[in-house]
Symmetry: D2
Subunit: 342 residues, 4 copies
């Protein structure tokens, strides 16, 4: 059994981690921390976990996290970077669901996240946990940077085209739409039901923190600079991301075959039949990413449709997938969830 600690269990990625870990056959939940709600039963805050998670939140200081095999940080940005060093030094592996270790260029990170990085040396060794790209490095990672939700959907959609060298890299467009849970469980006016239901909007068009993360990933695939326009939108649903990607081909290629070949062995990427339009609900509550590829009217523009559940493949599920890889388990262990639809 893997002894697991969760730091910051009161947000959506936290409760989703608990949903998944509660039924993972090889996991023993050791502690779930919360600064503000220590002492409260986890299932009092999240009644969906009644009878499934019997722990109480503990204060970070009382959590004895160094007795864990792995600690997940489901915290705001800037927390994991302060605590990871000590854990790693004691042999505890760290999986950060926030952004602290995602950007290799520390100066760039500091610009976008508006704080000084507390552990730049760990950034250097951290592994970016997109298994479809970095599975081998993940196995031995001590610090795992779990990808952002948009970056997961967008990178998996661009990946086959860029790796194959058939994309016009100067003008990549990612138009992405997210459910509201992506904004987290903080009390804010703009994510109130009466503000975000029955309405649709873009946000962060001048620049969103996931832009440098996606760009870094695409540059890594391409081996050279890319021109990327990324526009996120808020859509009135709880879970789900739908990324619509626009790529100009530099050469003629069978894009359906390209995607199917690239992802044939991937347990959590499903290339749908030609002509498909994946719905976000087709992956709801599961770790799947479903992708369809189109060339409208047979032209040179490829439209890629990529959907994930932002809380699963875009956060907690991918974190568990990474944990499975890190501990040599079947990569899909505990993740055999059939999507909930309708």
């Amino acid at each position: 059994m893997i002894k697991v600690g969760v730091v910051g269990g009161t947000g959506y990625t936290g409760v989703e981690l608990l949903r998944l870990l509660a039924r993972h056959p090889d996991v023993q939940l050791h502690a779930i921390t919360s600064r503000g709600d220590a002492g409260m039963a986890v299932s009092e805050m999240f009644p969906s976990l009644r009878g499934r998670v019997d722990l109480r939140f503990v204060a970070p200081a009382d959590a004895e996290l160094d007795r864990c095999d792995v600690v997940f940080f489901a915290t705001p940005n800037g927390i994991a970077m302060q605590q990871a060093r000590e854990l790693v030094d004691k042999g505890v592996r760290v999986i950060d669901l926030a952004a602290d270790f995602r950007i290799r260029d520390v100066a760039e990170w500091q610009k976008w996240y508006g704080m000084t990085h507390a552990a730049p040396e760990l950034v250097a060794e951290a592994v970016y946990g997109l298994p479809e790209r970095n599975r081998e490095q993940i196995r031995s990672a001590r610090v795992l940077a779990n990808p952002g939700c948009y970056p997961t959907a967008v990178q998996l959609g661009f990946l086959p085209l860029i790796e194959a060298g058939v994309a016009d890299l100067s003008h990549l467009i990612a138009d992405a739409k997210s459910g509201v849970s992506g904004a987290g469980r903080k009390a804010e006016v703009h994510t109130l039901f009466a503000e975000s239901a029955d309405s649709f909007k873009a946000y962060g068009v001048p620049g969103h923190r996931h832009l440098p993360e996606i760009r870094q990933g695409l540059v890594g695939m391409a081996g050279k600079a890319v021109g990327l326009t990324f526009v996120p939108h808020l859509t009135p649903m709880i879970r789900g991301i739908h990324a619509t990607l626009y790529v100009r081909l530099t050469q003629d290629v069978d894009v359906q075959d390209l995607f199917e070949s690239r992802y044939r062995a991937e347990p959590f990427v499903d290339v749908m039949p030609a002509g498909s339009h994946p719905e976000t609900r087709s992956v709801r509550a599961s770790n799947m990413c479903r992708i369809a590829v189109h060339r409208p009217q047979g032209g040179d523009v490829v439209v890629v449709l990529s959907v994930i559940d932002n809380l699963v493949k875009g956060a907690a599920g991918q974190a568990v997938q990474n944990m499975n890889i890190m501990f040599g388990l079947d990569e899909a262990l505990g993740l055999d969830i059939v999507p909930v639809s309708p």
Copy 2:
């Protein structure tokens, strides 16, 4: 392995059955029938099942259902009653998720359902599959009438009070609210998104088919006549039923203790702490029924709040629970789903 057939797999109770059966460790899916879509891959109609259910719909005539151990009817009312006789005679057990075998008074059934019953003799032997009331009879049932969604939530909420003889039976009120999936997957104007989103309404106030079913159940608990007012409402959510019940006490009693005692051993009924207000999402995608009991201002009116997922405990999940009981399995096998929240 239990060999299972599903008749009518293209509606919401059908696809939900498939979601549950696909991961049931002791079930082998033998055939899924559809009159209109025979030949189509199940996962083409329901992409959420891609990689999980590899069967194609077959025409009823080709399904060889008599080779099954059990056949679920996820069909409109009036189908199971035509086919059950033959299956039962061949030793195949039948679980009907529609209403054909729910009402013991055949004349009453015919009045509410507007057709002549094709197998009244099977009504007599059919067992009403509310495990919390009829677990023993369910074990040996050959024909199992799976309860309706409203009747499940409402009966479980009234049950402890009526069994204990502390309810004023002359004036029971059940004000129930259902998500739109309860109306099924038929194309109808009133359940279009643009008709039912962002709005709320009652329906069927003059008389709803679940009224006689609930009344029969309550009379069974009480051993005498009851006066019941039942008002269903449509609420703009996909899944979930919330029943709010109003009962006048005929004697002073600790209602919290009464409910906890009655349901202590039940795997799928969760009596919440005093003062709770269960949300439908706390049971989403799971087979749980959560109940809270109140006596506002300490008066003689008891308010019971009872929530289920209409497609699970209100349909497919309860059907699997009944199957487990009928075949001597652990009652919760294949139903260990952690509710999906948010």
Copy 3:
């Protein structure tokens, strides 16, 4: 032209008031105050008002409210009671959309609202602004207590039965469902989209602040004590209240005729044909209350269905209706909005 001030224009009742006042032909908007957002253009906070309201929020101290003919308080509870005295003494009429002047029993008010009342003498003279009950007193009111949202829907539904003396007053039940905007524009976790979408729950069952308000109104109609159970619920829609009322008749009566007679002359109460089920969307954005009356199976239980838009007839629209009455205008002036459906 009536010179109008609005205190507290940044909540939902505030912005809804502005929507209505912006197109009221006899109104001149003089000032809109906001403690926290003084200086900001109203249309920057509420882009829906771009080109329609050109004012900026001003600090309360700078608003020169004593130059207004009428001041609306769209503030939290406890604000109007502190400022009304001074305005009234200067001849400015006050319409409070909060609860400060709704409950005539000051001790009762203090118990439910948890504060000491700052102007009990104004409570005594304040008029409760339900025009269908108190139209005459409203004409000359100096302080107008605009009814709560639930109390409006519930009282209008019970009114004809109680006034006619045909209701069993010992056991009145009001099961009410509200859209999320009823909770206001405060940043709180439980009204986030991801918390309240696709889910349904009751709240405040042990006691909700609208209970004493409703009870006071019903007692006023009945001339004697009433036994009332009131259960509010949160439903995943933006606007709308649906009240389902259960009343036992003490004598046989044609309830359809009773309701039609009582409301024939009311401009904002629409008694629907027998057998109807009003939807909340049928009054969306308008000041209408639509009501249907049923006697299921011809029994002695009457079920009343009453729907309003909580922000209009349940708040800002009724406030404008009251203003019209107070200033001798056509009661419907500025309120001729056709409901928005779908």
Copy 4:
């Protein structure tokens, strides 16, 4: 008074037309036709119109449409083209909200709409009713082709850039998101609440009927061929379209100034301040189009965000705007609706 007929009043554009016409000061509603529901009171089908529209649906043959000044066709494609000739010959002006007269190339129209055109000679004389482009021609139009919903939002967003000659025309991208009412009031499975709520998907990527309409409009602005990729999406809200447009600049230009200058005099196009992100709810129920323009990171890619209410500026409202122009009225008459938000 303008005597108005509406052919096909039972769909969403029909009922929305009625909402607008019912309060238009210069309109007299003469007849509303329905083949299937003749004899039914309009307000029985649409209770939101109770007390506002007192007509009954009449059979087309009984409508005496030739006595009208103008007839709106709110019908499926292929109806107006069969009836327009006769009306026009009798001096009745025709406004078609469907697609019959939108595409000037009849062969192209027949390819996309799958039928033979019944009145190609009327296509030649029909005026495309986008007032911001064609106001002068609209004044004297006998047959008015009211633009599609997507084409309105998309064309208004591209227009200033293309007219100014600063757009790379070879690779224009329009990623558009629509509320579900855009699919109409037909009973279909894919627009059921339980199918389209809490989910998001693209559709029609290989080719959507609005593609040739948009392309024709852009070609008209550019005076030459354009390369356009158009991807529509279904988003779980009732009303609203959000178009996100991607254009590469061919020369440096102040895009904010360009848009503001172009639309300064337009009553129904609102260019928002630089940095804005318009929400669809900011135009809900109104005839406004709100637009924001961005150049992320100051690059050469312009992102245009354009929102409308698909049923108003995208259908019925624009039709009334066109009627006002055709009859020499104030263009905004009857359209002074303040958007409903929240």
